[in-house]
Symmetry: D2
């Protein structure tokens, strides 16, 4: 049973005044967008699995379709073998191809997967037209749409890993890129703490892990005005941050040594200079751009080096509660984080190093009180909160109970969505989660400090 | 700089009215007890490392001595090589033998380690007699005593693993064992929630990770009257708990499959019956005894199977705040958890299965309101809280800053101490921590539920 | 410098009376055949690497082209990056993509690889037409043709592994298959031993590892009239051969346990029956067919179980010296070993089990003296000879010296070619080599015995 | 059934004129010597297993005793558990402690193992005194004595690895060491080749793998007058031999890279100089000493670099057939290879580098014709021969058939014994065998060349 069922009819989050889009139209648009995201990939790109955590695009195309077939439709299956091939992890549904072997599936070929998509889309459309779906099925259809968006982001992160780690490092496609610049100054917003509410309200769509909404007692704290930029990462590298164990969590230090980390993922040392691969190809690192592809270990070490820490997810969500739900999402079609906006007042202090800015920030709070840039979009922001159940958490019923709850160990919560996240997918209460070692996701760092 | 320094003169926690023991006497007694714990081990037992996480007794004997030499004493070292050999993990102090190679150190031999202990003990005693230690050194000496206690417990857990996993499974020594019995009934104590304070107060000794004391907002909840007993584990096994993925966290299920878990560590399948190894040898599982050697994954699965969950560390500490600091610690010299005490009223309901008891508990709360048995001692109780910094956390200064803080990822908090913990080592605010996979520690499960 | 250079003009082995085919025609035909072998594969099939030892078809297409470009042509490279991408193992030529990462190369795409082939083919054709290649270059061109044939066989073995180990086990293409039958009787041919010559003669093409021709002293021995058939393997399985350590080499037993071998590779247990996957799909095991996809460990265990042993490579080559160079090669287009031919005399003894036949064989030698069936083609036959240099071995000069010599450790010699080997590629002196653990090659077992 | 049984009464190889030592005296002396070899080891040294291939001394003490108990004596076992604990690899005898877990056996302790030895020794002595052993039992007793000698050598090699790879690198004991010197010149003895006989004659003790004696056809070749010395290894290092893939077998190069080999095992880089650890401690490398602790991969690379190759085992044995069975064995109590003796004539050419000497050797053969120094003792000499069965090989009957035969894959033959081999253990036909990667044995390199 879906959480939406316990509360309200299936429907996406809407801004006030935003018109309600008919469900069939939403469904069709969502499905088409997934296919469009794969269009720049060659047929070969669709099939290879570059590492266990990154699935082939063909698998994403099929798995998202299987989700609708398995959880929304009744009746005969398109191909009985697909249950085994394209179930991701639902133990209650049955056995499946091990995650590490998804890249072995050269068959069925891409054409057959597109046929599968078309067939299921047709059946869903007909069922919607016929009014054949009851509330529970509609709730699962709604969940399927959000699920599809999650895989849209994964298609991009996984393709980036596939393309960016092979010798020729080909671009995904041509994308607009700006001129390098200095980052916006890094300021702070102070919060008095106290009891705050976090989590999704009872009405409207949310994943089960965002509920119930509940109170949390926050200490006084302050939170940074923007995520850290490449300028800060370049300084961390230059000052030996990747070689100083005192800055690192013990597990992180061991991993960094074993894998010889010297910079974020996708950075390339080039004659003393730093370049990076992004979905448009290789170019020199822009110090002003928001930093990305950092593990929690690196995020934590950089924060410590800057005399700060990562925020808790409650601190983050409280900070974000009053912010407009806007940002650079995948629809801005840059597919890389941008530079935080710089205000007039900030231009005066441009050129200061990050530690100076942090020190200055101490007494007076931030230059532009209240403004927290880039909370939504650009980069997923690591929190120091382990991914765990909220008090009173109720997983979905049946096999869908495996959607979130069983992953509540060994992972950290990330917030806010990224430049690869579909617009409209994110809420302030949205909880993403990855292991502390993950670097291939579009992850970044926002700082916090105790007051 | 030690946290004790920031607050109060170095001194152990004392119950009101308890006489102050002179520091030299405490030091000598502590050091002697470590040696006494190793006495039942053969010389061969002292040197072998049975797995990366379990260190040889000889290494414990040397490392605890090195701690005093490195952090309390000045002047010439007993043997300059010992810095490399017996530093555990302090990166700031220098390189060291990898943790996985501690068992390769056949040299120096046991006699030389005992000579090392004697020499350092003599120097510490002289320094105490001469009043040569300043407040900072005294604070580090105090820390060294608590550190020694932590290794006293590890000597037992590691020796148990060494002895219990070799073919002959020899006993550590003869220990008193009672007759099998049914467990005490499992009841509940309800808590209204609200803002509660947790963490160590400013005065008195505590590790840096227990501070600062701070408020936490708790939901209404209830907590079980005792940890789960072998009877519950036997039922979990009998009803297929180890074979049902729906009960398990995803990581736990994968590990349980890979390592073919079918029962807690040290349990032995014997002709359809269950035996277990404890430090006194092998005997039939007693259903009444408190269950132990469970990973967090098993703890979580058993809780889910019983319709409950693990408590948070704040819930646990709040429940424990009013309890007397007594229990079965290592000084009771049983070295295995006991049966929870059974009251007269409880005897009436004896024989009910755990799920019946849980159901009955729902409306009426627990039979003996307020009584939470075995909070301290017997078994370390897993909480669902990941090990993380408290708001405002300040690690110790210098190399000792590595004592706790750098392990704050990938681990869970355990509370209350165990039958292997030295008496006097535990506080309500005491935070132990191990990975979710750990089974060789004296770990058990107390249940909680949302209200 | 090629060995052919040391002896004779570049030219393929020809049977007496066989017309000499013009080199350009041979080149073109060879290159076309490689492309034709890939035609049944989907584009997706071309790119995936199912295990470290099995390369993607696209890589084979490119690497064989690179070989001609690197070793025969001068001048500008088609694409400078291809040196890094498609060098297989020539350390002297420079760095290259690790063998285990060949399947990550989704780019360059298949179309570009075909363009690469066309461009190099064109340049070679023009150079041949212009007479621009000196003797050394012609010798390397000749080597390139034989090299291409080796990869033609690998394209089939690697595609078989890719297709046969994925869940749907699709056929490579439709292929003719006969009705099941009993195998031909297993007889013996006795050899008196003495000094025999093995190795390639000085004239004609041969790989460096086949030379120099030299004498070997053989003991009296006998060699089986045919390779073992599935009937023998079925009996080995039925009598517990895969569960009896006394039959196995120690390394083989450990591997068989670790990988849970219970039958040859590609066999599928089906309701007590045995099926197998071959390039035409899945069908019931035919007891009469020659057995294949056996490691040396299995070959050795089966031989021991039958009271026999594997032949040495000298015994094999001596036995093969007088045999006609004919057999079921890839051009017969069955791509699976056939049944050994049955003579009239043999039909009488049909139905005997293999051990009976072996016992009867002891006194009287073989039923049809002198006839050794299936020496060439059908299956590569394991010998008990480790792959090592012949006395006086001279590797090729320059980077081509790495062609064979550096692999002379940890491998065993196989002889005779298989049903996947291009016709015309094999000589009696031909030495193939694989590790004892290899099962994905078209390998089988011919028995020998001491006299 | 033992091979000795098929041929002659159990008895050690004796030189003509050597008096026959009574069997009981031989048995007692052999057993005492094993204990004496362990005397310099501490009790801790007896129990630790520093790597899977190196067993603890305590295990050697027990296993050699078990061999006599299991294969010679009848009746009640000393301790039924010892079958499981101290069986090395005899599958036919039953299950056993995995080889990798031998170091976990802290119990039974060393005292009990000595008691086990005393008890079995007593029973064997009584049985010999009573004449209670039949010919088959006496043959197995004889085998047990040779088996004991093999483990005497392993006790030294394994203790060396244990002591030499721990941080303090303690000496096994004080041992005489000479002053550094230049090596003897390296000359050659030419052999015309032809049919030669190798293998053990039918009479006298030999392992089953040395039989049957048989003819081998050898090419003309020459063999070096001495094994290579540290001077040659130093030159190989100085000229970049460890960094040049063209010198190496492919498997060897990969291993050398993965394990970062830059010198033989036990060599220590010290300020541009080379030191080594031997059983007497650490000292500067002596260029004149025979080089040791080289894998076959290094041996092969050094030979290639010197324009030579490793001999086959038949070449070696033929060269050794006429040599006196004398050399520096373990009884010379140096436990490290010595310098090859230098004759008057050789002193003239002292100071030449190895490649000069090799070049000069080409035309004129060796300076002192016929003299091959250090064939027996000093170092085991790698041959290029894979360890395989001789034509007509018959393994021993019953469980003892596993003694040798099942290891006939993946290993190379070494010849001649070493400075750690007990005197009297070696024969010209003696075949030792280890994987190409093995470095912890006392292995060295004698060169050969084709003529």
């Amino acid at each position: 049973m879906l959480s939406v069922q316990r509360s309200a009819p299936a429907e996406p989050a809407r801004e006030p005044g935003e018109p309600r889009v008919p469900l069939l139209e939403r469904f069709t648009g969502m499905r088409d967008r997934t296919v469009a995201l794969c269009a720049p990939l060659s047929r070969e790109d669709h099939v290879v699995q570059p590492m266990p955590d990154a699935s082939p695009a063909k698998w994403h195309l099929a798995h998202t379709t299987w989700f609708f077939e398995a959880f929304v439709l009744d009746g005969a299956r398109f191909d009985p073998a697909f249950e085994f091939l394209f179930n991701s992890y639902y133990e209650a549904v049955g056995p499946r191809v091990p995650r590490t072997r998804r890249g072995m599936l050269t068959r069925p070929g891409l054409d057959r997967i597109h046929a599968y998509r078309a067939a299921i889309d047709h059946r869903i459309a007909r069922a919607l037209g016929d009014g054949a779906l009851d509330d529970a099925a509609l709730a699962r259809l709604e969940l399927g749409l959000h699920h599809e968006q999650q895989h849209q982001e994964l298609i991009l992160t996984d393709a980036k890993y596939l393309l960016g780690t092979q010798p020729l490092a080909p671009a995904y496609r041509d994308l607009p890129r700006g001129a390098p610049a200095a980052p916006a100054p890094l300021g702070w917003r102070s919060e008095p703490g106290g009891i705050v509410e976090i989590g999704a309200p009872r009405a409207g769509f949310a994943f089960d892990n965002e509920r119930p909404r509940h109170g949390v007692l926050l200490p006084p704290y302050r939170i940074a005005s923007r995520p850290i930029a490449n300028a800060e990462v370049l300084a961390f590298i230059a000052e030996g941050g990747y070689r100083d164990p005192r800055l690192w969590l013990s597990d992180g230090w061991q991993l960094a040594q074993a894998e010889r980390w010297e910079a974020p993922l996708y950075w390339i040392a080039r004659d003393g200079d730093h370049a990076l691969y992004d979905l448009a190809g290789v170019r020199t690192v822009d110090p002003g751009e928001t930093a990305c592809h950092l593990s929690l270990y690196e995020a934590d070490a950089i924060a410590r080096w800057l005399g700060a820490r990562l925020p808790t997810e409650a601190e983050w969500e409280h900070g974000a509660a009053s912010a407009p739900l806007t940002g650079h999402f995948a629809d801005t079609d840059r597919l890389h984080p941008e530079r935080a906006p710089v205000t007039e007042g900030e231009r005066a202090s441009a050129g200061e190093g990050p530690r100076t800015a942090l020190a200055r920030g101490n007494p007076g709070g931030m230059t532009t009180p209240g403004r927290l840039a880039q909370l939504f979009g650009d980069v997923w922001e690591w929190t120091q909160s382990s991914y765990a159940a909220y008090p009173g958490f109720q997983p979905l019923g049946g096999a869908l109970g495996e959607y979130n709850g069983k992953f509540m160990s060994g992972q950290y919560v990330l917030r806010g969505g990224s430049c690869l996240t579909p617009a409209g997918h994110i809420r302030p209460s949205y909880r993403n989660f990855f292991p502390a070692s993950a670097r291939w996701q579009m992850t970044g760092v926002r700082l916090a400090q105790d007051l």
